[in-house]
């Protein structure tokens, strides 16, 4: 009964005119940036954040979540029509989606990805609704050592899953943690590494750094080679999949929903890994694996369902434990904190309106996306025709404005540009930005948990508590596993799939 009254409370909040409008705006912007290659949900949430300062927290979170899962919907359009992923979680959709479009089946490909996304998203929200309160109740028993171990696992997973040698990921994670030490130490109040700068006293802002690493760096990378986008279909017809398409896609959609949801709960998995897993599983169990890569509808349905299911799934750890499982969630965590709300085990008890309101808005947002996407495909195709040399100055302007509007401080813009150049160079040298940003967000919490754990007086505390010991052992295993031949080969296989996808 309690559950249904909570859900009713949520819908009461989500269905107000104001929240409906901002949910609509969020999913619309999300789809737009999903469609546009060169700007992803991380940079967009970062630059929209300052515009939400005047809003109520629940309205702001509803809109920003809409941007996040809306981007998963939009990403497929570019993958299918242009063979360029609109955002990272749609990389694998290019494999079969583009081939379907080449065979004149762009319509069913777009249709099945919209329906699959809707089903995956909705099933995943049910999972989020049921699992988060349970996990939050369990997490109330956690102390600093458990939280430290969980954060360490998240960082280890992101490091393990990034491309290139694990060592490079590790170096980036360490650098992110080091940058998170800039500013005032939360326990002793000592000011560290600020070079007497007032701007740095509050620490390195997550938002300008994220905009630099994922917005400006992306622009600089794309500027090197402006690729002319050849759109395959000027007009897409026959969006509704046939009965055969449905029967071929039904099980991939169901499996994609489960894989997307459960894999994304793992710290560090994010939305990209589940899409590759869903695709690989379908290919492996298919009676016709040879059809994959040549335009099999299952190869579109499974990953597109999985990325939407993962968008909701990755919110489980954020809302129940306060720990972001991916870079996108890390930025959303920043949004919660800026609005004075600390996500974690007490979030559901302290802010039921926010928790249930956000969940209800996700149901509504998913329906909006389904209704919105199919008729607007023509508009997205028109937007895709905007040449990049006009698009990138706009991205730069929005990033500039976003960084400045945070604190009306021009040095935040400078920080953004510095990290933009840093991010660009790191890409050139094949270092990934994800472990860096996640470490920067988790850094202060990780340091606090680490120091509070040691204050118990036992330096072996991390190995004396069963949950902590298991989590730390798994983290260490992930980080040293590339040294062993079997695991290093497995990792190389993942990397190969990622590269083929691109």
């Amino acid at each position: 009964m309690d559950f249904f009254s909570n859900l009713a409370l949520g819908f009461g909040i989500a269905l107000t005119i104001k929240n409906l409008s901002f949910c609509f705006l969020g999913v619309l912007i999300g789809t737009l940036i999903g469609v546009l290659p060169g700007i992803g949900p991380v940079a967009t949430i970062s630059l929209l954040l300052p515009t939400t300062f005047g809003m109520e927290p629940v309205t702001s979170i509803i809109m920003l979540c809409g941007v996040y899962y809306g981007a998963m919907y939009g990403g497929s359009t570019t993958s299918i029509l242009v063979n360029i992923p609109g955002e990272a979680a749609s990389v694998v959709t290019c494999l079969d989606g583009y081939q379907m479009a080449r065979k004149g089946r762009a319509g069913p490909a777009l249709g099945i990805s919209a329906f699959g996304s809707f089903i995956g998203g909705t099933l995943s929200i049910i999972g989020l609704m049921l699992l988060s309160p349970l996990l939050a109740r369990m997490a109330l028993k956690f102390g600093p050592p458990e939280f430290f171990a969980l954060m360490l696992l998240g960082l280890a997973m992101v490091t393990y899953l990034c491309r290139g040698p694990v060592l490079k990921g590790l170096v980036m994670a360490l650098a992110g943690l080091a940058i998170s030490c800039v500013g005032q130490d939360q326990i002793s109040g000592t000011t560290r590494f600020t070079l007497d700068s007032i701007t740095l006293m509050d620490g390195m802002g997550i938002v300008p750094v994220a905009m630099g690493l994922f917005g400006i760096a992306e622009v600089l990378t794309n500027l090197e080679q402006i690729v002319k986008q050849d759109i395959l279909a000027e007009r897409v017809t026959g969006i509704f999949p046939t009965l055969k398409d449905w029967s071929d896609s039904m099980w991939p959609i169901i499996r994609g929903s489960f894989i997307g949801f459960f894999v994304s709960i793992l710290p560090g998995a994010g939305t990209v890994i589940p899409t590759f897993m869903a695709y690989t599983v379908e290919k492996r169990i298919s009676k016709h694996p040879e059809k994959f890569g040549t335009g099999a509808i299952e190869g579109v349905a499974a990953p597109e369902t999985a990325n939407n299911a993962a968008a909701a799934g990755s919110m489980v750890t954020l809302l129940s434990l306060g720990l972001p499982s991916s870079v996108g969630m890390a930025i959303l965590l920043g949004a919660f904190i800026i609005h004075g709300i600390q996500p974690g085990p007490l979030l559901i008890a302290k802010h039921p309106d926010l928790f249930w309101g956000t969940i209800a808005s996700m149901y509504v947002g998913n329906v909006m996306l389904l209704v919105l996407n199919l008729p607007l495909i023509g508009l997205w195709i028109k937007i895709l025709k905007i040449p990049y040399n006009l698009l990138f100055p706009l991205i730069v302007l929005f990033c500039f404005l976003g960084a400045y509007s945070l604190n009306n401080n021009i040095y935040d813009v400078l920080v953004m540009i510095i990290f933009g150049v840093f991010g660009y160079l790191m890409r050139k040298y094949e270092y990934e930005g994800a472990p860096f940003l996640l470490a920067l967000v988790l850094g202060p919490m990780l340091e606090n948990a680490f120091r509070q754990s040691l204050i118990y007086g036992d330096p072996f505390i991390f190995f004396n508590r069963p949950i902590t010991a298991v989590l730390i052992c798994v983290s260490l295993f992930l980080l040293i596993s590339p040294l062993f031949k079997t695991f290093s080969q497995k990792r190389k296989t993942i990397e190969k799939v990622l590269e083929e996808g691109e």
Binding site: T190, P393, L394, L454, P459
Partner: protein
């Protein structure tokens, strides 16, 4: 490939070294009561170790490995100019005001990217500056510096 790996690992070694030395200027505390320099020191040492391993690996590479090496950008001058334009814009933003700065950014950046005429770029710049005014100043009421255009 090898040269890039050496350069990047040396960069991280340098950062690790600075972090280690700088951390020593803060109280380290003890294992039971870590001070504010404790974690940064550990991070600095780990960064030094891992970058040294990366360096050793790079030095051990004899021939250039896979030839998927992305060379330094041929358009690096344009990239450098883009960054310079942005940095100059940062320093002039509050003095000159958002309208002129955004106009200038929107005018210069497409020209740097190439494949666009000055006229089209000019139209784009005017539209961008007006767009920023309408969306951010007029609708969202964002306080942006007006610089010397302030009456």
């Amino acid at each position: 490939m090898r040269r890039r790996e050496i350069t990047s690992s040396l960069f991280w070694m340098f950062i690790g070294l600075i972090l280690t030395i700088w951390s020593l200027t803060y109280p380290l505390g003890s294992l039971a009561q870590p001070g504010s320099g404790f974690l940064p020191l550990g991070l600095g040492i780990l960064l030094l170790i891992f970058s040294a391993v990366l360096l050793m690996r790079a030095l051990r590479q004899t021939a250039p490995t896979e030839e998927k090496v992305r060379m330094l950008p041929a358009r690096w001058v344009n990239l450098a100019l883009t960054v310079i334009v942005l940095v100059v814009a940062v320093f002039l933003f509050e003095k000159v005001g958002y309208l002129l700065i955004f106009f200038a950014i929107a005018l210069v950046l497409p020209l740097l990217a190439g494949q666009i005429t000055f006229r089209r770029s000019l139209i784009f710049a005017v539209l961008s500056a007006v767009g920023v005014y309408v969306i951010f100043v007029w609708l969202l009421k964002q306080p942006l510096p007006t610089g010397f255009l302030e009456r």
